[in-house]
């Protein structure tokens, strides 16, 4: 049906696309597979280059969504199939049960009695959370949900009794909905590359080796340790650039954001611990355009050391430290630096969807941009590895194509 649009993915790309389209008069279905909108950006501590928290931007989007009757949000939902042609796609969406109905007020009484805990996906598993919980503090909808992989089921039932509103409902079943839309925008985003696959960098084997997405949580005030980064004052941190990116054995492409992400994270360390030393190991720094100014500022900090040379190994050191091994190309020596924390700047991998018929993907899994004529569009990291600013521009621009059908 022309005049309507399906947006797959409720992160910053999907929310922007849905809102821009709806504000131009399209009827939009926004489908998100998690319990809440917000996607990856809500797990960031701050955005570069302004170093503002993502929450405020997301909040503005939430307000626009709430006040716009033309966007229908389906969380905990996945697109199962898409058939038909441009102008008249038939889309089957499956909404999984969250076992908490709309009567939930997010009072938290259920959470207090829940006896089981699992890894909190919002914190990339760095902390634990009860089986029944709000997805995170910035959830939309702000409604609790039960993680059935952790929950002991109805036999436990403590939450059912605790809820004053009768909101917990174990009888919920998956629901399938068929939507008819004129065009589709894939805003399916990314996932961090599995750092465990990069054998020599010690992730999962050596203590205090984390990925850049984990670093965002470790530095976030609402993260697992209140933004303290580690449970002791951080003295030395090494950032390992291109951890799995620009590497034919892993992700052959440049993920484009990791240089700026590490420069940004260097500021987390330097702000919180003024005596700290930061080492950034890079092949070449890709802080393009105005981001160069951000880089220049850090380069002026004598406690931030830029070392040209890819880290090939992370080894166990003494006193719980980790040792990064690299060739200091400009210094002419092979060096070993012992640090308290190693941050692997892992890249972005495109997320694949359950519906495998559409769309065309390139050799790396990104959804090619030139499918607009079929009524299939891709935005943000679903299309190519880009930062938030570029994603928002791309999402806004792509809506024009969806409007043209």
């Amino acid at each position: 049906m022309s005049g309507s649009l399906l947006v797959i993915g409720g992160g910053i790309a999907g929310m922007t696309s849905a809102l821009e389209a709806a504000e131009c008069g399209l009827k939009v279905h926004l489908v998100e597979k998690d319990f809440s909108l917000g996607g990856r950006v809500l797990r960031m501590n701050r955005y570069f280059p302004k170093l503002c928290p993502p929450a405020c931007g997301v909040e503005i989007n939430y307000r626009r969504l709430r006040s716009n009757p033309d966007v229908e949000v389906l969380t905990n939902s996945e697109v199962v199939s898409i058939s038909g042609v441009r102008g008249e796609f038939s889309v089957v969406v499956e909404t999984s049960p969250r076992y908490v109905n709309a009567r939930c007020t997010a009072c938290g009484d259920c959470e207090k009695v829940c006896p089981v805990k699992g890894k909190d996906p919002h914190n990339y598993g760095l902390s634990e959370i009860t089986a029944i919980r709000a997805p995170h503090k910035m959830a939309m909808p702000m409604r609790y949900a039960i993680d059935m992989d952790v929950c002991e089921g109805e036999s436990c039932g403590k939450c059912v009794t605790a809820c004053k509103y009768g909101a917990v409902d174990f009888a919920m079943k998956p629901v399938r909905t068929t939507l008819v839309v004129g065009s589709v925008i894939y805003a399916t985003g990314w996932k961090p590359y599995d750092a465990g696959k990069i054998e020599n960098l010690g992730y999962g084997k050596i203590a205090n080796v984390v990925t850049n997405v984990e670093m965002e949580r470790l530095a976030a005030p609402d993260g697992p340790n209140g933004g303290a980064i580690m449970d002791k004052p951080v003295k030395k941190v090494a950032f390992v650039q291109c951890a799995g990116s620009r590497d034919e054995n892993h992700l052959p492409y440049c993920s484009s954001v990791c240089c700026m992400a590490s420069l940004k994270q260097a500021t987390y360390v330097r702000e919180r611990y003024p005596d700290s030393e930061v080492y950034i190991f890079y092949i070449d720094l890709r802080a393009s355009g105005k981001y160069q100014l951000f880089q220049d500022k850090l380069m002026g900090d004598s406690n931030v050391h830029f070392i040209k040379g890819k880290v090939a190994k992370v080894e166990d050191g003494e006193h719980g430290q980790a040792v990064v091994v690299a060739e200091d190309i400009l210094g002419g020596e092979k060096i070993r630096v012992a640090v308290d924390l190693v941050v692997l700047a892992t890249g972005m991998e495109p997320v694949t969807t359950r519906d495998e018929r559409l769309p065309d993907r390139d050799e790396y899994g990104f959804i090619s941009a030139n499918q607009g004529r079929n009524g299939i569009h891709s935005v943000g990291v679903a299309k190519s590895p880009v930062d938030v600013t570029t994603t928002i521009r791309d999402a806004t621009g792509s809506v024009v194509k969806a409007l043209c059908l």
Binding site: K310, A312, V325, I335
Partner: protein
């Protein structure tokens, strides 16, 4: 300001000799960081990759790092760009021993078109020995005695001058490369030469450097088998020749060939052959079955050396077996082929990949004369 004159010809020759992935290198330095053999204060092979890309011949030739590399291929295996630094270093070594080989003979051993000619020379020489020196009717004499076909004296008339030539050529190569190392790094020594030689010898006997290899680790034991097997065989051959001359010159009376299987020298030879062949078996099957990123690419000059070494030992064993079961014709025919390969292996050694032994030992000795940071 220093001006670099790129020599594309040098780059192309490196690419032709197995370094065809050279231009994929984007100088990230992963190779030098992953390498456990490289010294920390002069890391390789990232810099050598750059020299090869820019055709900096003089930077590559007098470069000790090219020879400190033992082609573990840890660098190639982990290279993010698929530039295979291990193969590039091997290609540079090939060009290097072509360059330093006496009278430039090395290039003949790296050219497949010349292989028939190279084999024809010993084939004709040994045929001459047989034609001139063999006892009439040696084929039907029992028991089979190889020196009835090729008398030790006649063989040595060819072998001794040829080996003198090989040794001179080897020494010339060593002196030439040592001179370039000195020009490159200066001649201040921290350690006496004799001590450096001793350290090198110990390191080579233990395969210290090769033991640091990770992805191609099984090759180290295979190479140890081949190394000790080969030297056991070389010792056997030398002892047999010595025993012959001791008898001939009347110094003493010792056992003559064919030696009984229980004779210590014979035992040494047979164990050496089996040891060396098992080493070759492991190396060859790994090269044939595993990814070139892990074991390195195999080029003509690798194969020529490998095949000649294998055939030398294999024909020796076969000739012995046929002699023991008393089959005259195959025994003598194979023994003739064996002599041809022994000549090919030893006399051409300073010019073939065999010369890695000379040049690498020289580079290790040179490095051992100066203190590098650990």
């Amino acid at each position: 300001m220093s001006v670099i004159q790129p020599d594309i010809g040098v780059s192309l020759r490196v690419m032709e000799k197995g370094g065809d992935s050279l231009q994929k290198c984007f100088q990230c330095g992963n190779c030098s960081a992953i390498c456990d053999v490289t010294p920390d204060d002069d890391p390789f092979p990232r810099r050598e990759m750059l020299y090869a890309q820019w055709g900096q011949k003089e930077k590559l030739l007098g470069n000790v790092n090219v020879w400190l590399c033992h082609q573990c291929n840890d660098c190639s295996f982990h290279c993010p760009g698929g530039a295979n630094p291990g193969d590039v270093m091997a290609a540079v070594r090939n060009l290097s021993f072509q360059h330093y080989s006496y009278l430039g003979f090395g290039r003949y051993l790296s050219d497949p078109k010349l292989a028939p000619l190279l084999l024809a020379i010993p084939a004709v020489l040994i045929a001459l020995v047989v034609a001139v020196g063999s006892l009439p009717g040696f084929m039907s004499m029992k028991p089979i005695v190889f020196s009835n076909m090729a008398p030790v004296m006649a063989i040595d008339l060819i072998f001794i001058p040829a080996m003198v030539f090989a040794v001179v050529a080897g020494l010339a190569g060593i002196i030439a490369i040592w001179r370039d190392f000195t020009a490159h790094y200066g001649d201040e020594r921290d350690v006496a030469l004799i001590k450096a030689v001793w350290l090198t010898l110990l390191g080579v006997l233990r395969h210290d450097k090769m033991k640091k290899c990770v992805v191609n680790a099984p090759r180290t034991n295979a190479h140890l088998l081949l190394f000790y097997g080969f030297f056991a065989l070389l010792a056997t051959t030398t002892l047999v020749a010595l025993m012959h001359w001791i008898n001939l010159l009347g110094i003493a009376s010792v056992a003559e060939t064919p030696l009984p299987l229980s004779h210590p020298v014979k035992v040494l030879g047979n164990i050496g052959a089996i040891t060396a062949l098992s080493g070759i078996y492991i190396i060859v099957t790994r090269r044939l079955t595993l990814n070139a990123k892990q074991v390195g690419g195999t080029l003509y000059y690798d194969s020529f050396f490998g095949v000649v070494l294998f055939l030398t030992i294999a024909t020796g064993i076969l000739a012995e077996l046929f002699r023991l079961v008393d089959y005259s014709f195959p025994a003598f025919a194979i023994y003739y082929v064996h002599l041809v390969f022994v000549f090919t292996l030893l006399v051409y050694a300073p010019f073939s990949k065999f010369a890695h032994m000379l040049y690498r030992a020289t580079a290790l000795t040179f490095t051992n004369t100066r203190k590098r940071k650990p």
